[in-house]
Structures are given as C-alpha cells and as structure tokens.
C-alpha cells in the first residue's frame, strides 16, 4: 500500500515550532542552573518570546493559509491574537521575575508552564478544526491548573488550583461532548466542513434537530466555563484570588484572548446557519456576566478578588461584541466586521490595562505583606503620587473613562452593539459599566482621600527594574491606546480579512 505523504507547510507554524524549541531549551537549561539563578530562565524565556512575537508578526497580511490537512489556519486574525498573547506573556514574565522570589516559587518550571500554556493558546488561535482547537485548549488548561497552584506552600493557592482543575476538567468534558454530538450530526470536525454540511441540502434538517441544540448548549456551556461567564463563573473568584498574582494577570488576559478568538472562530465559521440559537444564548450570558460581575465586585474587600469579579464583567463586555457581530436580516445572519474588530481591540486594551492593575498589586507585595486588600492601599496615593497616578490610570481604563484604552475599547463595543440595534444590550452594558466606576473609584478614594492608619505597615514598593519598566510601559500604552488608537483599530480591522 503506497503511503500518502501530506503536504505540510511547516513554515506557517513557525511560531509554534519555535516555541516548542524554546520550551525544550528552557527545560534543559533549567536543569543546569543553580537555585539562585532561576531568574535567568525568566530572562531567557522573555527574549525567546520577544523573538517569537516578531516571527508571529511576519505572518500578517499573507491571506488565509491552511496546513496540516486543514487542521491549522494562519490568517490575520490568528496573527493578531498571537502577537497580543505573546506580548502579554512577555509582560507577565517580567512581572514575575521579582515576584517569584518573594513568593518563593522561583523555579524554572514556572516559566516552562507559562510557555506551555502559551503554546496551547497559539494552537487555539490557529485551530481550524474542533479537534485541533480542543488540543490547544487542553494544553492551555492543564498548564493553567498547574500555574494556579504554583505557590505550593500556600493553602489558598492549592485550593484554587484544585477548584480550577475540577471545574476546568468538567468544562472540557462538556465541550468535548458537544463536539462529539456535532461530529455525530455532521460527520466532520472541520469548521469549514461543519458549515458546509449545515449550509447544504440537509442543513436545515440537521440545524433543527434537537440534538444540534443540545450540542450548541454544551459548547456554549463549555466556553462559558472556560471564560467564566455568569452562571458558569463560580470557580473564578477563588482561582483568581488564590493564584500567584502574575498568573492571575496572565490568565485574565491571555487565556481570555485565546479562548475568545477560538469562540469566534468556532461560532462564526462553523455555525453561521444556526446563529439565531447560539446568539441568544450568548446574549443572555453577556447580560448576566456584565450585571452580576459588576454588582458582585462592589461587595469585595480584597482588591484581587474585586479585580477577579471585574474580569467577569469584562468578559461580558467582550461577549457583547461577539453577540453584536451578528445581524439578522430576513432570518438570515449577516456578520458585520465592526463587532469582531471591537472585540479584538477591546481585548488588546484590556490586556494592557489589567496586566497593569495586577502589576500594581505585585508592586506592593513583600515577603511579609501581600497587599491584596483594598485596605492595604489606604493613603498610598498621598505618600506615593506616582504609583497612585499609575493605578488611577489603570482604573480609569477599566472603568472605561477617557482618555484611556478602555474608553476607546468600550466605545467601539457599544458602538457595534448599537450599529446592529442591540439597544438593550448596549444600555445594560453601559449602565453596568457606570456601576463599575463606583467600585474602581472606591479604591482611588481609599488611596487618595484616606490616611494610612498607624497600625498599617509603611508602604514599601518593590524596586525591581523589570517590574517598574513593565508598569511604565503599560501606563504609557494605556494612554497611547486611548489617545492615538487609530493604528491599532486599523490592525483590528485588518485582522478580519478573510475571516468573516
């Protein structure tokens, strides 16, 4: 029997291949590094990630190219997502360098696990088939479970890891079950193949099958767990609070970016003909997430937990953009590009902002003092105007106030919703974001308007140059994206080329 050798263009997967080489190199190099010099692994990973970022960027503008028998696609969307994820990774590594020493988890494996998670994300961004997407998702998830429980001596972190693992595994199961049902109905796992079958002669019948509805519900629920949409969010506050702060930051931006990109790819490419069904489900999740995330955040006393809840709300805003992409004309769905580009831009803005906000928590963290609570920031803005100003800018961006990245991002998300006449979604979203201003500014209030109690330890910020450099870059980026977003909006626009 002759062997058919598939035509595989490895160059398209250059980023992933490079990343695997980097991972191996870090693993091996780690074994020959003494305990004190583990930060070198971080620096090594950082430079690798920077190089890979440029490798990923070189794929821009090459049109839609698939390889690995259609399992893998490289288009502008995946390039955009990959570059943002790699940027977030670079920032996270720099945030971690000092923090890992303070929290005593400065192992080479930490960076290796981050890189593994990134590998999964990159595969997800390029996953053109439910199977390759799922592989990426699992690689990412399993690495994240480990990362969340990385402060092994801290019971909270262990608990967080276990919770995240159990819920994550459950979600993966749901998702896989949904994928299996879709495969059973359509006979393929390829996104394009599914769309073809659903749009074909029997498409209407398959689309109306109750099993299809079940499959969609399962897939939506699976995504819902992974992205922590209300009511699938219950693991998130514990996991985000217990995890090392750098990992919380990383998960809230990079995991979200990859999963949202995959969600858009799966729903927009594979299931446009049943858009009415999933769009309604997503509509509900978006509303619940925005409202509940923001209201639950008000009650928090832990700043980290508050940011965790706020990330639920932000996931809701992002989902609003996804929902708002679909417009229904005469029962047929039309995807309008504004929604997708708004989602991408928002995720970019959120990446910069949220990494910064968590970076501020790391800035305050010392061996004997975590600084995770709102109380710990009492009076900090008075004594340290620069740090206060930086935090203020991040909060402005999170609350969606000008002149910051978050404002432009929200403007276009809400704009997309209004353009496609999702008025209620826009109004609910914008009112809940007004609510969010309350709890963000409560922290500003504590920082600037209250004086530090005698019993509280003196504020002593970390002096790690890497951390300070990252924070400065993130502040500048938050303002830059808010004032001169033009180029990045064009990039977000351009990343839809060939997608929808």
């Amino acid at each position: 029997m002759p062997v058919v050798i598939p035509d595989i263009a490895l160059s398209l997967a250059a980023t992933e291949i490079g990343l695997v080489i980097l991972i191996c190199a870090v693993i091996v190099a780690d074994m020959f590094t003494s305990m004190e010099n583990k930060s070198l692994m971080g620096a090594f990973s950082f430079f690798g990630v920077v190089v890979l970022g440029f490798v990923a960027l070189s794929g821009w503008g090459g049109g839609v190219r698939t390889t690995f028998s259609g399992f893998y696609v490289l288009d502008n969307l995946s390039v955009f997502v990959k570059v943002v994820i790699l940027a977030a990774t670079g920032f996270t590594i720099l945030l971690s360098l000092q923090y890992a020493k303070i929290e005593r988890f400065n192992h080479g494996e930490y960076y290796v696990m981050i890189l593994f998670a990134v590998f999964g994300m990159l595969v997800m961004a390029s996953g053109n088939d439910l199977v390759s997407f799922y592989l990426g998702l699992e690689t990412m998830s399993i690495s994240s479970y480990v990362l969340v429980s990385f402060i092994r001596h801290d019971p909270l972190s262990r608990e967080a890891g276990l919770k995240y693992f159990l819920m994550g595994a459950f979600a993966s199961g749901l998702l896989l079950y949904g994928i299996a049902l879709v495969y059973g109905l359509t006979g393929t796992t390829s996104l394009l193949g599914i769309a073809k079958t659903l749009g074909g002669a029997n498409g209407a019948a398959i689309g109306a099958d109750p099993v299809m509805v079940l499959a969609l519900i399962l897939i939506v629920a699976g995504f819902g767990f992974k992205l922590a949409f209300v009511p699938f969010h219950m693991w998130l506050p514990d996991a985000y609070t217990g995890a090392p702060t750098s990992i919380t930051a990383f998960m809230s931006v990079a995991v979200k970016m990859a999963t949202v990109a995959a969600l858009m790819r799966v729903f927009f490419i594979a299931f446009p003909s049943v858009a009415g069904k999933w769009n309604l489900l997503l509509w509900l999740l978006a509303v619940l997430s925005m409202v509940w995330g923001n209201f639950a955040a008000i009650a928090q006393t832990s700043l980290k937990r508050m940011l965790a809840y706020s990330s639920i709300a932000h996931a809701g805003y992002v989902l609003m953009g996804v929902v708002a992409t679909s417009s229904f004309v005469d029962g047929k769905v039309v995807f309008l590009p504004l929604g997708v580009s708004a989602v991408l831009f928002y995720l970019l803005a959120y990446m910069v902002t949220n990494l910064g906000a968590f970076g501020m928590l790391i800035l305050l963290c010392r061996e004997d003092y975590r600084g995770d609570n709102i109380e710990d920031w009492r009076g900090v803005g008075r004594a340290h105007p620069w740090a206060g100003l930086a935090f203020l800018i991040f909060f402005l961006s999170l609350a969606g106030l000008p002149p910051t990245a978050g404002f432009v991002g929200k403007l276009f998300l809400f704009g997309a919703a209004i353009q496609n006449e999702y008025y209620w979604l826009a109004v609910i979203g914008i009112l809940s974001s007004a609510v969010s201003a309350y709890y963000y500014f409560r922290v500003v209030m504590v920082m600037y308007m209250e004086t530090r109690a005698e019993s509280q330890p003196v504020v002593e910020f970390s002096k790690a140059p890497s951390l300070l450099a990252v924070l400065v870059i993130l502040v500048v980026a938050t303002l830059f994206l808010g004032i001169f977003p033009g180029g990045f909006i064009e990039a977000a626009r351009g990343s839809i080329a060939g997608f929808i």
Partner: protein, 118 residues
Amino acid sequence: MPQEYLPILILLALATGFAVVNLGVSFFFGCRRPTAEKDTAYECGIVPETNARGRFSVKFFLVAMLFIVFDVETIFLFPWAVVFRELGGFGLAAMTPFMLLLIASLIYEWKRGALEWD
C-alpha cells in the same frame, strides 16, 4: 441500524442474567454457617498483615508515568519503523522533533532525580 446492535444486547442480557441467577441461587439455597475464619479477608490464602488501603510511595506513580511516556514512544516508533523507507525524509523530519522532545524530558527527569529510587 439498531438491529446490528442486537447481539450486544443479547450478550448484555446473558451476562447480567448469569450473575443475577448465580448470586440469587446461592443466596436463597445455600446454607450459611459463618465462622471467624470464614469472615476474614481472602488474600490468596495468605493471612493479611495490614490494611489493604495503605499508601503507595509516590515513586511508584513516577515510575508508572515514566513507563507510559516511553510506552507511547514505542507505540509510535514501531509503525514508523515499519514504513520508514516509504516515508523517507518526511518521516525523519516528523520523528526527529518527537525524539528531541522526549530527550529533553528525559534530561529533565534525570536531573530532577526521578530515575533514582532514593
């Protein structure tokens, strides 16, 4: 199509029936004269010394995991070896990274001391 599954159904019924019938017969008709000796746990005739739910050393799991890793490697390598000639350069290109990955992890295990019992 459902007819094709009929044999499985029959087998299922037979298996369940066999178990139920045997247990039921001995439950209803067997005579019971329990003694202390009869109530002890049966371990191939050897008198048990400790609780069966003792903990294994984590090292056993490490070895088991290593075994699985290299087992999978073998499973992958055998078919590759069979069609090695036909695959040619492509096969080599596909297998080399795989081997490199394994080598990297082997180095990791070695240096971390996973291969040493103590």
